[in-house]
Amino acid sequence: MTKLLGAGFMRLRKTNLIWGSLGVCVGLGALAALGEFQFQVSAGADLSVPEVVQAKALLEGQFFEYAAFIGILAAEFISLFLGTEYSDGAIRNKIVVGHSRLSIYFANLITGFAASLLCMAGYMLSCLTVGAPLLGWFTKPAPLLLWSIAGSVVMLAAFCAIFTFVTMNCSKKSTSVVICLLGVFVLLILAVVVNGRLEAPEFITGYEMSVNGEIVNAVPEPNPHYLTGLEREIYQFLYDLLPTGQSLQYTMLSFTDPVRLMGLSAAAAALFTGAGAALFKRKDLK
């Protein structure tokens, strides 16, 4: 497999796709920091005052934005990069000379993951480089930040496993691209919907009006849409299981149990990799 990894990384270096994706990530990282700085300045915030920086946690707000879009980038990159193996027919060159299908699958998975990780690191570094002097340093506890970074790496592994599963078992590059991109957006919408249900307040305030239109009484009432019991647990599990749900939690630093999230991501990655490799092993290639 080391030979295949060597070949994969060599092609990675030679393709414009990786440099383009990395460029986008670096640009987004810098833009996020600059945009936030300009917004704060225009809102009249004095960022030279440490207390203001401390209260707003501005760098964190932008730094972890990568978790929200890295799945979309991985979908685009993996489906295009690995899909080329099929569209150009180059996957045949590996099989004809005796490489096992499992090693081809794993080498492609690792290459796609490494490239996505590189893009993620590109965003983080540029956001940090531009953001730290403008927005101040991190103010949240270091363990929280480290858990978020570590968790998002495992979340990225789950994303890559899903997209590799699709791309390696779909002989048409265009179909892979559509499925991966459409899939990641559907998962993202699902995560937002689930989060909306979980975030619904337990009580809503009911108002009573008098005959002349004045509000005379404001009474908190139970919210009928508030999730409780098993239903809430299921929604929470779904939110934690979905890589897109995790991406929202890492972006907002709202996670409570990072180990559980990492475990679920690792399980999803293992499941999709196992199923994908088994399917690819039996696939009739042209």
Binding site: A7, M10, G89, R92, I95, V96
Partner: protein
Amino acid sequence: MEYVLTTQGLSKRYKGFAALDGLTMRVPKGSIYGFVGRNGAGKTTLIRLICGLQAPTSGSYSLYGVDSAQKDIAKVRRRMGAVVETPSIYLDLTAGDNLREQFRVLGVPSDAGIPELLKLVGLEDTGNKKARNFSLGMKQRLGIAVALAGDPDFLVLDEPVNGLDPQGIIDIRELILKLNRERRITVLISSHILDELSRLATHYGFIDGGRIVKELSARELEAACRKCLRVEVTDTRALARALDALGMEYKILDGGRADVFAQVNISQLSRALDGEGCELLSAQERDESLESYFVNLVGGGSHD
């Protein structure tokens, strides 16, 4: 005779359709094996199976004596190179980078052999030009160069001259002959361009309906296609004596028929036969090309 590839009752079915139906063939070492058949006869399916791209539904094949069910088949494949249907090359890489990539796949430690390979296929002057800007012939030659990257001694080419212009066809033909003669590479080449194949092949396998209909050497085919006079007589032993006396080359087909490979004077032959107490019943001139041989072989319905 030593064989590079043998297949035994190889079958491949796709959702109710048998692309290969108990195919048995043998590719001798050092040969250029012309694999002839109509579109859809099963040529590409066989190539996909022996390249490991697909698994047979039943039957087996062996490469260099190693059965396809054995684990060692993967190691033996290292001795193979193949161009299946279209050239397998990365279009966004240059010719050199494509070879470099395949060298990595093979684990070749040095890139020193790349200029020689590019020269061999006539792509040494392509520089930084991406493969997507190559002509079809150049792509085909690059595909062959990639297949040769592992220094194989068995090369499988699926329709390598399809869509090429006359010069492209000549280039590929000369390359294949060079590889076979100078590097002793056994070549399995599938094609339905029979005229082209007849300039290359040392052995033929005719496939129809997923089965080998006939397998023979170029010499045997030449004999079968040789211009001759097919005569029908009452006694072939008498015919043999008469032809021996006339110093003519012949081949007895059965008790009443024979092929005579000479410019025959019918009156002279008739007199000679008369002297042996034999009657000449009919005489028919035969002149078969590879094309007419193929049409005669697979032209009808079933060949069971």
